[in-house]
Symmetry: C2
Amino acid sequence: MASKSKILVIGATGYIGKHIALASAREGHSTFALVRAAAAADQPLAKAKLLQDFQAAGVTLLDGDLYDRASLVSAIKQVDVVISAVGQSQLKDQTKIIDAIKDSGAHIKRFLPSEFTLDVDRSNAVEPAKSAFALKVQIRRAVEASGIPYTYVSSNGFAGQWLPTLGQAGVTGLPTDKVVILGDGNVKVVFVDEDDIGTYTVKAVDDPRTLNKVLYLRPPNNILSHNELVSVWEKKVGKTFERVYVSEEEALKKIQESSDPLNLIYAILHSVSIKGDETNFEIEPSFGVEASELYPDVKYTSVDEYLNRFL
Amino acid sequence: MASKSKILVIGATGYIGKHIALASAREGHSTFALVRAAAAADQPLAKAKLLQDFQAAGVTLLDGDLYDRASLVSAIKQVDVVISAVGQSQLKDQTKIIDAIKDSGAHIKRFLPSEFTLDVDRSNAVEPAKSAFALKVQIRRAVEASGIPYTYVSSNGFAGQWLPTLGQAGVTGLPTDKVVILGDGNVKVVFVDEDDIGTYTVKAVDDPRTLNKVLYLRPPNNILSHNELVSVWEKKVGKTFERVYVSEEEALKKIQESSDPLNLIYAILHSVSIKGDETNFEIEPSFGVEASELYPDVKYTSVDEYLNRFL
């Protein structure tokens, strides 16, 4: 770890990409973000904030995208590490990144394809989530076949997505009287602050311990069952909520009866909240490492602290 | 206006598209939304809320997108009116919608291409905003050449984008001591609540007065100069702010010196806030109509009311 690698983030204006790009700059890496200029014309004021944050942090903006090969190759040639944070609809097109890395002649020391969910090789998801996760599996296999050094970041749940509704889907805010819980509510789920996902991701890029491994984010204070999560919140607000449980049978029925794309969402929730796919296996040294163990110096935001923001 | 047209919204999960789809259902139209199923896998909980809102409102979700021709043609065949709310990076691909309308054999009574900004045929934008707006101009010409009946919705400024920062770019919230104002701050700008944009847009689709015309949104209580906007807020909070003016010369220099895509954002702001492109021309009956005049029954949210949300 003599010097810090130069990092290119693809998908840097996306939900998790922005946290990664800012973490990269914060951690002292020369950071480049491949950004489609046209996209800035939608919601210019919101985009101005983000892009000015990037500039203030020292992130270099490069005009281009996945589908502009020249821009992609040129960006890759400037860096040592490529992190992809593209969304679901661009997952399969990450083969363009693999091809560009190979053809560029650049010596890319690490490629992190877009993951940032549970471990897609170890999920018990039913359809249509199974096929959605399979796109990430296919990219894993393509990365491995390419010989490019890699790390897969299994970040598990985004705190910013789960905690504002206390883990409930289809509602806007915190519970007032009832809490809907998938399954028996005893399955352990992981909630990680998006800034911490960025930090752990960036810590991994120059670390030989994460080479060709899955980096799991399971900070001990952030692994809670849905029942535990509700109890933590109940204690904070001094109030109890009626817990309405949805059985696996009901959940599966809902998946089957729902049309695209709601069935996909319900199937993802089934995998996380009923099958426990974020936590139902041990991390073996042969395939993975855990982030909070590797980087004990990272002062991650605990679920307890995160929930205090809503008081 | 015997019966209400069936409406297809393309880009319905986008920033303005969701307001249009919900307004369409609220106004009693059979409403269809073409949604890419895969996109639901990103941020499933947030998407679940929106899609469940669609379902609760009676919006029929159709799996597909602009790039899946069969899905597009099949969706078009089910409706009378097509509203596109796609983002900047898909603007040019709206030719696929035009082609699909022509080839489907469907009798589409009205097509509303994605506009929802100032009138792109009447802007004084400098580069690179000029070229960005030109994509909408090109689609206008393609629509006119196709003979498909149309309406262009010049919605002007999104209140939800401009008002939370009191019109300032690159900041997160309301001013605490200073307010940065582009130009002399006396140019009139229009701020329209996104729900109202949805309502006015949908009102227009079955209205012969908007046929082959531009529908301008200029609700009288929502046309303010930046100086007036700041004064309204100052009065509400009982405090005055230091007004920092950025001259046109400085703004143009900033556009020239900024890299992609910040230069685009600054050039859009220059067009709106310095050139006054939302308000610097009269609406002539030959090409346009004004929404609040056509639909005086719509109780639109005034800027004054909107700002009260921040108190």
